[in-house]
Amino acid sequence: MSLSELARQVEALLFLSPDPLPLAALCEVTEESPGAVQRALAELGERHGPEAGLEVAEIAGGFTLRTRADLAEVLDRLRERPPDDRVSPAALETLAVVAYLEPISRPQISRLRGVSVDSTVVSLVERGLLEEAGRPQDGGAMRYRTTRAFQERFGLRRAGDLPPLESFELSGPEAERVRLQLVRAGHLAEDAADPYASAPENDGPDTPDGG
């Protein structure tokens, strides 16, 4: 199978760029329309099938050539993965809060999680999974957002490429189970009202404004 000239160009660009290339950038460099570039990307996808060593992936806001997952073992003999690769459950929860509500400040995350997250946020910033997103215009604490490295790490195509938060909400019976656990632990009276029904809708931080 021979590639079209545009597909060859796109393949070479993806190979050369250390960062994922957005569709707009590919269009600009190749001076082609988005439709033509998308067709070229599809052509490349067929070329780099499961039998190939590389694959075309849409990740972190652009397209990139990356190695196939099944080759990780042999690749890591050449290049060792960073030792601090593991993300703790507390850090994962902090990342989840930021991913859904970014930009968000540390006090807002702390209020939602019920614990201080200062050291967790600092660690995530040092690891490149979070970055500063500026302060609000009316002043206040520094806000944070997820990074491209975060999107790469968790296989997200772009910022906000997440399942709807509503899909993770507890169902009525699940909320009832939480209530029963609290009753058993002595934190809640037997006849207490269903907490799911009384959960405040806007108890958390401000929702993102689409930025």
Binding site: T64, R153, F154, L182, D203, G204
Partner: protein, 244 residues
């Protein structure tokens, strides 16, 4: 007071005979605490009588009797609590209930983020395989180009290592104003005239000298050597000698 000649008895080991229980006093206490003897059915008057005995004054010294009384009082309190209901069985106050409800609501409201974290963990596991081209680290200086002349770098460093000239302090003055000298000047002025105008006395002085002169006047006033009078705020101060 222990009766003379009697061996020192152990108050907790003394036998008690009741309709409900017969045995040592400490066993009764243990059974009550284990709920194996129903405290509500236990006649406390009989327990008190049996434990202290008819001739308590003669049988027990003060310390032992005190211990028994404390134990009996605790038992009475326990019985009273059971008759009135345990505190734990009471309805919590509204604030506590509200706080508990808020806790439950918070847990339920936060649950989606916990689940999202679990989803992220799964995503992370699924994406451990692919490798990306290594990107240059931000903030790390690139290696110098090979054609760079080290002597140029040396010259640049040498310029940076030259100490800058010492800054000039010519514009700074080292004025010293002596309080004793200010006192002496004011006393001299007062020796010539009975009253001195502060404005006239400090005419031509620097602000620091003027401040010291004011402190000198206040010091003389404190000593009772002068009296100070000011007709209006920020007006002139008349310094009048107290001694002729």
């Amino acid at each position: 007071m222990l009766a003379p000649g009697m061996p020192s008895p152990d108050a907790l080991q003394q036998p008690i005979a009741l309709d409900l229980f017969e045995g040592p006093f400490d066993l009764l206490l243990t059974l009550v605490l284990r709920d194996e003897v129903e405290l509500l059915d236990l006649p406390l008057v009989e327990v008190v009588t049996a434990s202290l005995g008819e001739n308590a004054r003669e049988r027990w010294d003060t310390d032992t009797a005190g211990e028994l009384i404390v134990l009996l009082a605790a038992m009475a309190e326990l019985k009273a609590r059971r008759m009135l209901g345990e505190p734990g069985e009471e309805e919590p106050d509204p604030d506590t209930l509200e706080a508990r409800e808020a806790l439950a609501a918070r847990l339920v409201a936060y649950a989606p983020f916990q689940r999202a974290a679990a989803w992220l963990a799964e995503q992370g596991r699924d994406n451990t395989g692919p490798r990306y081209r290594r990107m240059p680290l931000e903030g790390v200086a690139p290696p110098p180009p090979p054609e760079e002349d080290p002597r140029q770098l040396q010259a640049a460093m040498a310029r940076m290592l030259i100490a800058p000239p010492a800054p000039s302090l010519a514009h700074l003055t080292n004025r010293r104003v002596s309080m004793p000298a200010a006192l002496a000047r004011l006393q001299t002025a007062l020796s010539r005239a009975r009253a001195v105008s502060f404005d006239a006395f400090t005419d031509g002085m620097e602000p620091l000298e003027e401040a010291i002169a004011l402190m000198a006047a206040l010091e003389l006033a404190r000593r009772g050597e002068v009296t100070l009078a000011q007709a209006e705020p920020f007006g002139d101060i008349a310094i009048t000698g107290s001694r002729l």
